[in-house]
Amino acid sequence: MTEKPAEKTALSLPGLLGVLAALLSLTGLSIALAHFYEGPLRVAAALSIAAVKTGLVLVFFMHIRQAGKAVALSFLATVATLAVFIGLTFADILYR
């Protein structure tokens, strides 16, 4: 799988600044949520925001979409592996 030349797809400096602004805002949001939201989805919300921030870094700073199919697939496979490891461990933990 050849990499698409990054020149065609990379963001310019203002674009990157925009991504930074988004990241910082999301961080602020997560802090606000932690202080003001008492509901049952607190942890899920915090981790979801983290996941969105991660997605931004992956796409706009790490150019994962331009790294080829092998990388995109194997990245998902790695995250899936970790998720499955956690899940199977909970088959033990939750039912003790």
Partner: protein, 543 residues
Amino acid sequence: MDAALSFFETPSSPGQKGAGAWLFTTDHKRIGLMYLWVVLAWFFIGALLGLLLRTQLMSVEHLLLEARTYNALFTLHGVIMIFLFVIPAIPAILGNFLLPLQIGAKDVFFPRLNLLTWYLYLAGGLLAMVALFTKGAPDTGWTFYVPFSVTTQTGVTLSVFAVFVLGLSSMLTGLNFITTVHRLRRKEMGWLQLPLFTWSVYATAWVQLLATPIIAVTLLLVITERLFGVGLFDPSKGGDPLMYQHLFWMYSHPAVYIMILPAMGIISEIFPVFSRKSIFGYKAIVAATMGIAILGSLVWAHHMFVSGISDMAVLVFSFLTFLVAVPSAVKVFNWVSTMYKGSICMAPPFFFALCFIFLFTLGGLTGLVQGAAGPNVHIHDTHFIVGHFHFVMFGGTGFAFLAGLHFWWPKLFGRMYDFKKAYIGATLLTAGFLLHYFPMFILGLKGMPRRYYTYLPELQPLNFFEGIGAYIMVSGLALLFFNLFRSFRGPRLAVDDPWGATTLEWRTSSPPPLENFTKDPEVAAYPYDFAELAGKTKAAVKT
């Protein structure tokens, strides 16, 4: 036409001479051979330790070793055999040498990283020796279970750090091989034209890459536990010792697939050649290979059935364990079916491969017995387990490694060994193996625990008998290696392909030149097409 100089005569960088041409090489073939010598050295040490243990167990009254020494020896035997022999052997030796050849490449993708992995392997082994001579050999078993691994005063910290370093070597080898297969195979060679040994090393590489870091962090946690008392596995500090076991086996079970997948790859190469017929079910074997890599990573807690995990976990992991037997069985059926209506040629590699089928199948079936939750309660931590894993790791991987050595020896060294001695050695080995390891199933069912320096007197006859088997086995091994090394005295082989094989490594000289091929090899549409060769007799090789 002048034959090209072999890689033995050509250093990877011009001007390198003597030891430097090896220690600073970036040639995957030289690196593979450097691995061979060090791995074999560790194998001999591990085997001697095993023999010591078995000699001890031949008698109840006359004990060679006291309990603590025995504990240290079985720990060392396990650590050496697992981390310094069975895990690295096939990928680092045969994988390194053959992967680029099989895909028609000049080398791996990261040659200098490759050399680094060899140094890491060397360092890991040396660290283990330092541990031995400074704080004394650990007596925890190779599994380093907490809390004993945290409290014991022996050299655990250095030993687990040595395993950490060895893990780094393994992981980086996997990284290199994945990149190599993706980027360096010949343009004409699609995924479904890769030889099966290449596929097996590729699948293994993923497991090496993704599973090894788990044990890396777990061993680091043992070190921080010993040094700082962090408490993550300590119940008095809120920790759960079972979490150590979960994390440990999350790597160490996939590790056994790191051990067996390349071995199966070797068997898949040998059966077609000596049946003069293409492999039965190439795609099924590819699917089974990837299936084993994936499913095998999901079964780790079957090592923990009686440790206190939940019944739900026992159910789930037992089920998954039975599932993983399916692709392994598919492979066995396919290998045997390859022989059907083939034209069988006996040669030492094939003899080893046939023994593999028998021994691996027995080992695999006993694995199912263990994977069933009920029987597991009875046989856990008995010699039944010891028998099982020796059947699969030694009867399986060990025999496949020997098969591979005997198959590719002419390619590696341009020399052929004596067939008769090889057959005698292999027979002694197999007979000794069966006499030695089969009784362990019986002893286990009778309740003989593992990792004990002695046992109940009524079990002595079988133990004594087993010990005899061990000595027969070791004499077989001695003859086999003597025979292989003796070949260096013999004449140089002039033939590229003494067996009549179809994969690309046989389309270049034995041994190959530095950059592997003097002219671009032709990639067949199907890697195991024997139609052209079927009519020709096997190249005559003086035996």
